[in-house]
């Protein structure tokens, strides 16, 4: 068919038809597209607009490494304290400061033994140095990066839960680099609430109150190593046992509720293991007080009136309905290993997004019109062919973007415009080559055509590939909008290759078969 193998014609035709089908949602009026059944909508959809085009919030959260390391050291110190005691090693001045834990071993002969015991307390690498009989313990660089990565992994899960709980539509949550999380929230114009939720670890623990030590005694240093001095809004200074009765990780659910006096409170229920621990602890300590500690602050310390065996209870404290609901949300989504800090924040108003789309699409259309006109002026009928090819190219690009669920950003729109400008290059190269072949005495139209295509293919491919390299690096480099640009540029190259080589050859061959011209005139 058309001096072109039948199978190739069919393949090109099918590809074009499929492309047209997948590009179609982008052109349907909204009301019409809305009537499409939702099962079809999930795969037959228009291009997803980036946050810069539809408005929304883009947040990059960073694990608060200082706090993370400090917390880790604190728990290492707790473990070390009991382990050294168990190993009958006398020590003093066990403390943590910044990124270092120090401990003075009283008997110099036990220094190495102490060192080994400390090393065993942590699964990641520790850097232990001795100065006299004082040991300084730090995390190694590898361990730090492993801890950070681990923290991000855990945080991702929890962040996802917290944001889902808030009912945000189509959030996108991804890890970026070693210690960052990217959160994209389409349509959210004020991410203050979300940022506030991310900034809290929501680490909850239950501790028995140390009734033998008063806060005054503790402040004077008369405090057992098993107890700690804490503070809270409701309770003021209070001394608690260090050991955790049960922690927030055992929680199954938590909801905002009201106590018997109608004040806002937070209900909780434990998973079975936690419920058992909680039941035992409350049974053995009836009449004593049990403190609820959240992120280092005592929320309340009610007296245990009777054993709580059902694993359910409520937390009272100084709550409003809002804070009770927030706390419940945080508790049921789990504790973050460390607070997340805002490293980057971009909020685009919906209006601005609309303006950007308008400007971007207008530019695309005007650019397209100019290129159309230029090609027809320069090449006449062949220009029309190039323009048809350009349309096919655009349809394929849109189809690819829609099908792959790529996000179209404002720079991505620029990428489309750029593709328009660059796509006709391929046709220009082919046509110029054809002219040249004619000048070298080749007149049979079919030969001119084949030679024109064959002589240009390598240069076109090389040119497209170099641009593809650039697109790949853009994809690697960029986040958000710039990445969208890389994607558009790369896909544009693919569709250009297809359109310029396959489609334009097909059209020209078909034209020749129908018209059977004696010579090709530009």
């Amino acid at each position: 068919m058309f001096g072109y193998s039948k199978i190739r014609v069919v393949i090109v035709g099918i590809v074009l038809a499929v492309g047209l089908f997948f590009a179609l949602p982008n052109f349907l009026p909204k009301e019409m597209y809305n009537q499409v059944p939702s099962s079809v909508k999930s795969w037959w959809k228009p291009v997803t607009l980036g946050l810069d085009l539809q408005g929304g919030s883009y947040l990059v959260m960073e694990v608060d490494t200082n706090t993370l390391i400090h917390e880790k050291l604190e728990s290492l110190a707790d473990l070390t304290r009991s382990a050294l005691r168990e190993g009958k090693i006398r020590f003093s001045g066990l403390k943590t400061e910044n990124d270092t834990m120090t401990v003075k071993v009283l008997n110099a002969a036990q220094l190495n033994e102490a060192r080994e015991i400390i090393r065993k307390q942590e699964s990641v690498g520790l850097d232990i140095s001795a100065e006299g009989t004082t040991l300084s313990v730090k995390y190694t660089a590898d361990a730090l990066s492993a801890l950070k990565n681990q923290a991000v992994q855990q945080s991702l899960e929890i962040v996802r839960k917290r944001i889902d709980e808030l009912g945000t539509k189509e959030p996108l949550i991804q890890q970026q680099g070693e210690d960052r999380i990217v959160i994209q929230l389409p349509g959210v114009q004020d991410p203050a609430e979300i940022k506030a939720l991310m900034g809290k670890t929501a680490k909850m623990t239950f501790h028995l109150v140390d009734e033998e030590t008063t806060p005054q005694m503790a402040q004077m240093g008369k405090i057992s190593a098993d107890s700690m001095l804490m503070t809270g809004e409701d309770t003021g200074y209070i001394v608690l046992k260090r050991s955790v009765v049960v922690g927030g990780e055992s929680l199954e659910d938590s909801r905002g509720t009201y106590d018997e006096n109608g004040r806002p409170a937070v209900s909780f229920s434990f998973k079975s293991a936690g419920a058992k621990k909680f039941g035992n602890a409350t049974r053995d300590n009836v009449g004593r007080r049990l403190a609820i500690v959240l992120d280092g602050k005592v929320i309340s310390a009610p007296t245990i009136n009777s054993p709580i065996t059902g694993g359910k209870g409520i937390i009272t404290g100084n709550f409003t309905v809002q804070t009770a609901n927030d706390l419940a949300l945080l508790l049921r989504s789990g504790a973050l290993p460390a607070p997340l800090l805002v490293a980057e924040e971009r909020v685009v108003g919906a209006g601005l997004g609309e303006d950007s789309i308008k400007a971007g699409t207008t530019a695309c259309w005007i650019g397209l019109a100019l290129v159309f006109a230029f090609m027809i002026i320069v090449y006449g009928w062949f220009g029309v062919v190039a323009d048809l090819v350009l349309i096919a190219n655009g349809i394929m690009l849109l189809a690819l973007l829609s099908l792959l669920g790529a996000t179209l950003t404002l720079p991505g729109l620029a990428g489309i415009a750029l593709t328009v400008g660059m796509a006709v290059d391929a046709n220009i190269i082919i046509f110029e080559r054809m002219k040249e072949e004619q000048m070298h005495g080749i007149t049979v139209p079919k030969d001119v055509l084949t030679r024109g295509f064959a002589g240009s293919f390598s240069a076109i491919l090389d040119g497209q590939l170099t641009t593809l390299f650039a697109a790949l690096f853009l994809f690697w480099l960029g986040s958000g909008p710039v990445r969208g640009f890389g994607v558009t540029l790369g896909l544009g190259l693919a569709s250009t290759m297809f359109a310029a080589i396959c489609v334009s050859k097909l059209i020209l061959m078909a034209w020749m078969n129908v018209k059977n011209p004696k010579e090709i005139k530009f």
Binding site: E344, I428, E432, E436, L477, V482
Partner: protein, 304 residues
């Protein structure tokens, strides 16, 4: 009109003109490098870190009043946006403050009656990292392209292309420095796509040069360079023109966000065309392309 592009047999002595181009390029490069060294780049928030807010007010904005209200901010810069005097762009460097608190402070200070179109906060670490990554990506992209050309052609072609590319990128970045145009992530995107697009013209000419080297085994390299450049001249100009149209349209109607990108692309397209004619090609005459080409006749060639 069509005739204009029909006249095809050019016989311009490009190689003869090249020495003027070398001087021109040297001047442009020196100006660019000096400007980069002394004035530096006017980095946007992507690279600098800080806070940038685009807000619009219900009433006309009194810049002095706003400046006074926001005087607690470090490195405060205010700019009017739009034509009705109701839009404002606020840029500042927060000092170790939590971004939430800072935003609340700014919003409180401005008071009611403002709506916020765009709020951007970038931490200093993110900015510094992005600067480094952009530079790395640009260099790697150039090298990847050069390596590809080396495989497809011969090493002198890779060197010629790399030099021409580096030349164009330095001049475009130099332009941004000289006129202190804001340099942000989207500009880097422009530069990188430029790197990819820029060598297309060069590749077309190189492709022809390779063909001619095989065809005319006795002609001098200089002669063949002139011939190849002339033969591909019309397509070099035509392909650049179509792209130039589009990026010019982007520059004028694409909106403010794309301005930097468009400037980079417009300059890049112009200098790219210039450099592929007057640098990438003439530079080949200083290498022994002929012997390199003959010794490696096994170069993959799609034409056959």
């Amino acid at each position: 009109m069509s005739k204009l592009f029909k006249k095809r047999e050019y016989s311009i002595d490009f190689m003869g003109q090249a020495k003027f181009a070398y001087i021109l390029s040297a001047i442009m490069l020196i100006v660019s490098v000096v400007s980069l060294a002394t004035r530096g780049l006017n980095y946007g928030i992507d690279f600098m870190g800080g806070v940038q807010i685009e807000a619009s007010s219900e009433n006309e904005i009194q810049m002095d009043v706003v400046r006074q209200k926001l005087s607690f901010l470090k490195d405060l810069s205010l700019q009017s946006v739009g034509t009705d005097g109701k839009g404002i762009l606020i840029q500042a460097q927060p000092e170790g403050e939590n971004s939430n608190a800072l935003l609340t402070k700014i919003k409180d200070a401005l008071g009611a009656g403002y709506s916020y179109n765009e709020v951007e906060i970038v931490g200093p670490a993110v900015g510094a990292e992005l600067k480094y990554k952009s530079l790395l990506a640009s260099i790697l992209a150039l090298l990847a392209i050069a390596v590809y050309i080396w495989f497809r052609f011969e090493w002198p072609f890779a060197v010629g292309c790399l030099l021409a590319l580096a030349h164009d990128m330095i001049i475009v970045v130099g332009f941004f420095s000289l006129f202190q145009i804001e340099f942000d992530m989207v500009v880097v995107a422009g530069l990188l796509s430029l790197a990819g697009y820029d060598c297309n013209d060069t590749i077309v000419s190189y492709d022809r040069m390779r063909e001619n080297l095989k065809k005319y085994r006795k002609a001098s390299v200089r002669e063949l360079l002139n011939r190849s450049t002339n033969e591909t001249f019309s397509r070099t100009i035509l392909t650049s023109l179509t792209t130039l149209f589009v990026v010019l349209v982007l520059l004028f109607v694409g909106g403010e966000t794309l301005q930097g990108f468009s400037i980079a692309m417009v300059l890049g397209t112009i200098f790219g065309t210039y450099s592929s004619i007057y640098l990438a090609m003439p530079l080949l005459q200083y290498f022994d392309v002929r012997s390199v080409g003959n010794s490696a006749d096994a170069t993959p060639d799609f034409n056959k």
